[in-house]
Each structure stands twice: as C-alpha cells, then as structure tokens.
Symmetry: D2
Subunit: 342 residues, 4 copies
C-alpha cells in the first residue's frame, strides 16, 4: 500500500482528494495536516466522510509527512514551495495541486502570484502533470505540478489543433465558465450564495493567473509564441468548467477524426460525436474531459467545447491520476466513477 | 454473475440504478427496456454512462427479461403489476421501485393511485423492502416492494421511538422536504427550472400517496392506529430529502443512546452526535440515512432530523441493497460511495 | 418630503431599503452611513442602484443623522441601542430593523443576544412594528422595533387561530424554511454558495433567537403561556420564508372564513383560497404575506402555510410600511410591487 | 389611457408584460387572450398578480382585441403574422415580442423558422424595435418587431465599434449565456430543473435562430457583410443574458469614451467604468443593458461584456419601451425599476 499524506485538507480539493483516495484500493491514507484544525477528526468537518475516513487533522510537521510515500499539497500557493524540498530530500514524492511549480518562468510566476519564489530549483525539476501531454515524464517524476482547472479544460481542447498546426495561433480565444467551487472554501463575500446564485459574470478579464499557465502550455506545443485571449466567468453552480474555444482554421483536416485519433487511448478524454454539446453535469464527480468539435456554418472558425469537473479532472482526480502513473497503478484505479446525474 | 434487467430506464431512478449497477462487481447488466426508446444506446440518452454502460434499450418483451436473474422496475405505477407475475412464474426475482406492491390494503391502494389493481395476489407475497425493518424476509423474497422516498426517511426517523412506545402516536407530524428529482423525468410545466428554482412550497397537503404507505408502516410497528400529519414540500435542489419529525414524549429514555443502539449494526443508517443538524448534501449520491435527535428546550417535544438522497436510499440504492440481501452479497457491495460534497 | 437616513446600508436589508425608498414618492434619501465604506458611492457597492441612488456612504456621526426626520437601522444587534437615544432626543424617529428593541424582557434579550442591553428604558417605549397587530400604536410611535423575518411569517400565520382561542396553545409547531439571504452579507464559510446550494438542513434546533420573539408575540395574543417548538431550516435559494405551522384544534370554526375576515382590510396579507399552496416566489420582491389553511384528512390538526420575502415583509418592506403609517402616507406607498416571477 | 391587449399571456414574457403594465400609469389593461385558458383569471395562473391584475383570459377573437389601442403578441412564432394584419387594418397598433417580423429576408426567415411566412408585406413595414438604433422610426410605426433577447444584448454591445468601423467585421465572436427562462414556459424535458440546474452547456452551435437576426442588424450598421460566430449557452439560473463579445481592432480609439458618448442619452444603457465586470443580477427585473469594455493585456482584441434581463430589456420591457415611444409617453414610464439584488 502506498502511504499517502495530505497537506491542507480543509478545502474543496482536499475533501475531494479524500473522497477519491478513501476508496482507492492501493493507498493507505496516513496523514492529513491542517494547522488550524489539528486534533479534529476530518469527518467532523466533512460529514460525507463519516464511516469512510477516520483520520484526524495533525500539525503540518515534516516528520509526520515524511513517513508517507507521497504527499499531496491541497493548499494556497506558497505552501508547497516551502515544504516540498525537504520532503523530496527525505524520499517522499510530492504532488502539488496548487500553483507553486506550474510556471517555469520564475519572474512571470512572481508577477502573477505576488510573492517571491523560494524554490526556483524545484520548478525546473517539476513535471507538469497533464498526463495526456506528459505521461512518460510523470512516470519518473518526484515532483508533480498539477495543472489548474481552466488550463486543463483549455489545453485538452486546443491540443490536437495546435499539434497539427491547423489554426492561427495569434488569435486564440478561450471563453471559460466555472462553478463557484473554484473560488475555494474560505470566508469571503464574493463567494456567498447571495452574491453568486442567480447571476453570471466575467471576472479577471484584464488578466487571470491561469493565463500564463495556459500560454506556457500552448507555446510548448507550437514551439513558438501564441496570442491567447482568456476570459473566465463565474457560473451559478457548484462544480464544472465549460471552455468554449475559438480558433481560425489555416489548414484543412477532418477535425472529428483528428480529435478521436489524438485521444483514442486516453482513459479520461471522451470525444463526443459530431454536433454534440457536452454538459458539465455529464462529468460531475468524474475524472473525464468531454470534448465536441464544431465548424458553425462550415466557416473557418472552429469551436471546441470542453467540459470537466474542476474538482476532479481539474484538481483532485488529476492528482490521483498522476499518482497512479507514478506508482505503477492502472491509471484508472480509484477514478472509474460514473458522473452523478442529475 | 447475477444477470440484471431493468424495465423503464429512462427516468432518474433508472439512470441512478445504472450508475450503481455498472460498478457492482457481482452483476452483469443484461437487458434494459423502454418501449419509446428501443434501439437507442442508453449512453446516448445519459452521457454520464458513456464508457461505463454499453446496453441498448430494447422492447419490453418478457422473453428478453426472463433470461435475467432479477428484474428491476423503475416505472410509473401500473407497469410492474402487469409484468411481475409472469417473470416470477419463470423464476425471475422482481424488485419494484414503484408503488404497485407497497400497500397491502388493495382498496386503499386503488383510492390513492386511481386505478384497479390487477395483481392483488402478489401484493400479499411482496416484501416491503426496508432492510432495517425486514431484512430476514427480504433474504428469501421473490418480490420486493421498495419503499418510497419519503416513507424511507420518515420511517427510519420514527422507528426507534415507536418501537419503544415512547411517544403519543396519535399526533405525529412529518414535515418533509424533497428535491425536484422526486418529480421524475417527464415533460411537465410544474418541474421546470423556472417553476421550481428560487421558490419553496408545500404540496399535496390534503393528501399525498406516501401518506398511506407511511401510516401502514408505522401501524405495523405500534400494532395499532397512528395519527400522522404528513406535509411534503418541494425544495429548489436536485436531490435530497429532509424529514423533520415531531412527536410528544410520553415516556422517558436516553434518546441518543436509543437511536445509536437501534441502528448500531446498520451499514446505511448513521446517527449523528447529539445536537447535530444533518445536511442533505452529506448523503448526495450515497445510500446513507443520517439522523439527529433533539429535545428543544428540554421539553416533551422530540424532533428527529432525517436525511437521505431520494434517488439512492430513497430509490435505486435501496433497491440494490435489497438485491444484495436477496442474492447473498455483502450488503454494501456496490453501494459504498462517499457522498459528493460540495 | 420626509428626510431619511440609513445606518448600515451595506447588507441585504440595506440595499433592499434603498431599492424601496429610491422610488418612494414621499421621501428624500438624505444620509447613509457606514464606518467601513465612508466615501464610497452606494451604487459602486450595489450596481443595481446605478442611476437610482447617488448617495455616498458617510461616517455614522449623529450630526449627519440628526438632520433626518427618520433613521432606519439596518445593522447587527447592539448598534441601534447605542445610537437611538440621542436621535430620539433630537427629534428624529427611529425604525430599527435589528433586534435591539424587540424583546421586552431585558434579561431574556441579554441571554439570547449575548451582550448587555444599554437602553432598557427605550425597550419599554419601542412599538413592535407588526402593523397587522399594532397599527394604532405605530401611528404615534417614535421608536419602532421591526419584527424579525421568521416572527413575521409565524405570527401572521398563527394570529387568527390564537385570537379566537381555537387551538391547544401548549403544542404549537412552527417548521420554518428560509432562503440564505437571512444569513446576511458578511464573509462566512457557512453562507458560501458551495456550503448552502444543493443542500437543505435544519439549524439552531436547540434554540434560535427568534424563538423568544415569537413566543412573546403569541403570549401577548393569548394573554398567557404558549408552548412553541420552532425549527428553522436553511433553503438553497436567495429570498423567501415558508412557515409551515401545526396546531391542534380545540374548538370549531370555519377556518377559511376566519382568516379571510381577520385579514380583509390588510393590504399586505393575502389569504389564498381553500386548498392552495403558496409559493415563496409569489412574493419575491413584494411586501406581501400569503397564507393558506388546511385541515388534512379533516382531522384536528390545522396546517397553516405562510410565505413572505424575508427581505421585504420580513425586513425592509415592513420597515417602510411602518414609516408610511408613522408619517401619514397611504400604507402601500412605495410598496405596491408585483412580485418577480419567475 | 391607452387600452392594451395581450395575446398569449401564459408564458414568461406574458406574465412579465403584465407585471410591468399593471403599474404603468398610462395604460388600461383591457384584454388578455389565451385559447387554452379562456375563462381563467390571470391571477389564478400567476399568483404574483393577485391584487394587481383582475383580467380574465378570453378567447383570442379579433373583435375583443380590436377595442384596444395596442396589442402585444407574446406568442410563439407564426401567431402574430396570422393576426396582425387585421388588427392594423382596424387601427390597432401591434407590438410583436415574437420573431415573425424581425427578419426582412423572407426565405431566410422561412429557412430558420421552418414555416411559410403569410404576411410578407407586413415584414417590410415592421420597424425593428431597438430604440437605441431606431427610435425615430419607432415613433411613427404601426407595427413593431421587438428584437430577440440575444440580439439585444449582442447588438448593443457591438454597435459603437461597428458604427465607427474600428474592428475586423469578418471575425466577430459572440459567446452568449442565457438563463433558462429563455426556453419558455412549456412542458419539456430539456428545461426541467433536473436537466438544467447544476450544469452548463452550449447549444445550437451549428446555428441558432437569433444568428440571422443579429447578422442582419450588424450588416445594416456596417453597410456590408459581417462574419459572426454566435454560440449560445444555457446557464443554470432563471433570468439574465451575458454576452461576451470579441473583435479584433483595426483602428484606434478611446473605447471607453466611445461607448460612454454613444450611449450618453440612453435611459436604459449603462456603460460601466473601465475594468468593470457587469453581473446579470444587476439588471434582474430592470430594463437596463449594462456594458463594460476591456482590452486584455492591451492587445488588439477588444472584449465587450453586455448584460440584460432577457425577460425585460430582452422582451417585455423593451416592448413597453417601444410602446412608450409610439404613444408619446416619457420613455422610462413604468420601466424605472431598481433591479432586485440579491
């Protein structure tokens, strides 16, 4: 059994990790830490875990965590970069669900995240944990930077087009919509039901932290610059991301076949038939990304629809998928859920 | 492997059955019928099943169904009573998620359901599938009448009090709130998002079909008459029932201990600590009933809070639980889900 | 024009007051104070007010407020009792939407609200602002204690029965459901969309601050003790309260006629026809209380259904209704809205 | 008083028209027709109208309607074109909230709406009722074709850019999100709460009926062809449209000033300050369109955010605004509502 530790299990990605790992046949949930909740049984905070998880929050001491084979960080940025180094030094693999190791350009990271990066050397080593792009590197990684939720939906949607050089990469548009759980589980006026229910809005149009992450990923694919406009929106629902992607075709191809071929072997990417409209609820609680491809009115604009559950394929599920790859489990182990509908 | 058939898999209890059975290690999904959708792959109707269920809807011919070991009816009332007899005669066990076999008093059933009952003889044989009450009878049953959703939440909440004769049974009140999925998946104005979202209302206060079912169950426990006022309410959410139960104590007891003891061995009933307030989301997608007991201001009125997921413990999950008991599986097989939170 | 001041306009009752008063033909919005937001235009905080309200938040100095004819307190408890005295001394009328002057029994108030009361002498003077009960006293009042949201819905539902002595007052039950806006507009985990959407729960079953307020009101009507069990629930919607009231009949009466007669002249109480089920959305944004009366199965239990918009008839609308009465306006002035449906 | 008739008041635009007109000081609600509901008081169908509207549905006879000064059609397409001619002939003005007279190209209309057009001659006469574009023509019109909801939000967002020739009109993108009330009040599975809540999806990506309407409007502005990709999405809320518009700048201008100047005199268009993100809830129940302009990262892509309430500025409110212009009322009469927040 792989011994697992979790740092920061009091948020929505934390409870989602626990939901997934509690039923994973190959792991032993060993440690969960939270400075503020030390001493509290996890199931007292999240009653859905009663009868499934009997862990108690403990202080985030490195000695507690070092007994694990792998430690997940489900923390705000800045925490993982402070702790990962020592854990790695003590032979523990680290999977960061946060943003600390996602962006290779340190000054760029520091600009967007507003703090100094204290582990620049680990950024180099970290493998960006998008299995559909980096599966081989993940296998041997010690340190995984799990992609953000928007970046997962957007990159999986754009990848086949960009890999084949079929579109004008100077004018890509990603119009993305997220459920409110993306805002996390912390006291704030902006995420109150009364501020977010029965309303819809864009936010961070001048610039969102996921923009440099997505751009970095797309640049790597095209081996050059890309021009991306990324507009995130807050949607009155709990879970789910719907990315609507627009690009102008420069070449010709059977797009449907292209996508089906690209993702043929992928257990967690499902290309819908031509003309389909994926619903976010079709992936609620599941680690799946569903895609559909359109060329409205047969024009040069291609529209890709991409849906994920931001807490699963966009966070905790993808983290477990990475763990499965790193530790030699079948990739779908513990992740083969049917989405909850309705 | 137990071969399973489903009649009427186009509703919410149907897709929920498929979600649960698709991952049940002991069953083979063999037949699913729908007169209106014959020929359609189930996963075309419910995309969450893509990659998990490859069944195609077929005509509801008895020969198709008779090859199964057990057939679930997830149909409106009137369908199961027309087909169950022949299936039983051919050695197939039947689990009805509908109302056809729940009420022993045939004229009473006919009054509430507005049609003649055509299988009165089977009503006698049918076992009321509330495992916490009838586990032994279920083991050997050929025909199960699965309890309704409200009756499950209300009976599990009242049982310990009534079994011990601690309350005035002439003045029981069950104020129950249900998500909209209880209204089913059929075209109707009343269940539109625009008619049900951002609103709350009572309905069927003069009389709801679940009233005689609950009363029958409570009468059986007390071996006498009961006076129950049952008021159901429609709640703007997808899943979940919250029953708030009121009774006047006539005797004395440590109620918390009473409930904990009564349900100590039950895998799907979870008695919360004193003073707790169960949330319906703590059972979303899970087969659990969570209960909490209160005596406000230390008075003679006891308040029991009971929550279930109406589609799981209130329908499909309880049906699978019954199947597990009937076929000798561990009772939690295929039902050990952690609720999806948030 | 009546010059109006508002203390604490940054919450939901505050913005609702502004919505109503901005279109009231007889008032001039003169001052709005907020210590934390001084200098900010109100419409920058609440964009729905753009073009309708050009007030700027100012410091809560008494000199600012003393130029008004009436000041509304839309503040947490403890604020109004600190400021009302001086305003009254300077000839300003005060309408408190909070709890400071609702409960006549000071030690009782202090027990439930957890602080010392510093204006006990004003509690005596304050008129409980339920116009359907106290219209005459309101006319000449200097200081109004606006009822809480639950107390408004519950008292209007019970009043006719209690006034006529028709029910057993030792066993009253009020099972009440509220939208999340009742929790206010402050940073808290408990009121996040992700904690409250798609879920339903009871809360404060051991005791809620509105219990002593309701009991005080009912005791006054029956001129004696009452036994009330009050269970509030949190409902996944923005606005609305639905109170389901249970009582046991001791006398006989035509209940429908009783209610219609009792409220015949009331502009904001609407008794629905026999057998109806009021929806909270039928009063969304309106100052109306809608009631329906039932006797399920013709038994001795009477069920009253009572709905209001907690921010209107349960708070800001009722406050304006009180102001209308105090200043001699037609009672419906500025309050004659059609509810927003859907 | 202007005598008003409504054909088809059983849908959401119908009840919204009634909400607005019931408080309009210059009109007398005279006739409301519905074939299916003849004889029913309107307030029995929509309880929010109790006490405000005492009309009874009548048969849709032309003689009933001909006594009016103006008749609103709040009907599915095909109804207004069958009845408008005779009403016009009898001196009644007609305002169609449906699609019958919106598209000047009859074969194009017939292709998208799937029926023959029986009143081609009236299409020529009809004035497209977008006051911000056609105010003068509306003043003298006999027949108004009210714009669709999406076309209103999209055109108001694009107009200033296109009028000034500042963007590449061959590559316009309108990514639009609508609440579920846009689907109307008719029995259908697709608009059930259980099919639409807690989910988000695009629909009609291959082609939506509002595409030719928007294109026609934009072509008229630029006096030439436009290339528009229009992707509508279904959002889990009752009301509101958010259009996110993308265009590539070809010229230079101070966009903020451009928009503020263009809409300076418009009572129902509100340009937010630079960098703002309008929320749909800021216009809930109000006839306002709120706009914000962005140039992310200072690039050549301009992003316009445009929000309306689809039932008000996108339907009933805009219809009343047209009526006000046609009959010489102040344009904001009966429409000066503050949006309901929260």
């Amino acid at each position: 059994m792989v011994k697992v530790g979790i740092v920061g299990g009091t948020g929505y990605t934390g409870v989602e990790l626990l939901r997934l790992l509690a039923k994973h046949p190959g792991v032993a949930l060993t440690v969960i830490t939270s400075r503020s909740e030390a001493g509290l049984p996890v199931a007292d905070m999240f009653p859905n875990l009663r009868g499934h998880v009997d862990l108690v929050f403990s202080e985030p001491h490195v000695d507690n965590l070092a007994q694990c084979d792998v430690v997940f960080y489900a923390t705000p940025h800045g925490v993982a970069m402070a702790g990962a180094g020592e854990l790695l030094a003590r032979g523990v693999k680290v999977i960061d669900l946060g943003a600390d190791f996602r962006i290779k350009d340190i000054p760029e990271w520091e600009k967007w995240y507003g703090m100094s990066h204290t582990s620049a050397e680990l950024v180099d080593e970290a493998v960006y944990g998008l299995p559909e792009l980096n599966r081989e590197a993940i296998k041997n990684a010690r340190l995984i930077a799990c992609p953000g939720c928007y970046p997962t939906a957007v990159q999986l949607g754009f990848l086949p087009l960009l890999e084949q050089g079929l579109v004008d990469v100077d004018h890509l548009i990603a119009d993305a919509k997220s459920g409110v759980s993306g805002a996390g589980r912390k006291a704030s006026v902006g995420a109150l039901l009364c501020e977010t229910s029965e309303s819809f809005k864009a936010y961070a149009v001048p610039g969102h932290r996921h923009l440099p992450e997505i751009s970095q990923g797309l640049r790597q694919v095209v081996q050059g610059e890309v021009g991306l406009t990324f507009v995130p929106h807050l949607t009155p629902m709990l879970r789910g991301i719907h990315a609507t992607l627009y690009a102008t075709l420069t070449g010709d191809a059977d797009l449907q076949t292209l996508y089906e071929t690209r993702y043929a072997g992928e257990p967690f990417v499902d290309v819908l038939p031509l003309g389909a409209h994926p619903e976010t609820r079709s992936v609620k609680g599941a680690n799946t990304c569903r895609l559909a491809i359109h060329r409205p009115q047969g024009g040069r604009t291609v529209v890709v629809l991409s849906v994920i559950d931001n807490l699963v394929k966009g966070a905790a599920g993808q983290a477990v998928q990475n763990m499965n790859i790193m530790f030699g489990f079948d990739e779908i182990t513990g992740l083969d859920h049917v989405a909850l509908l309705p």
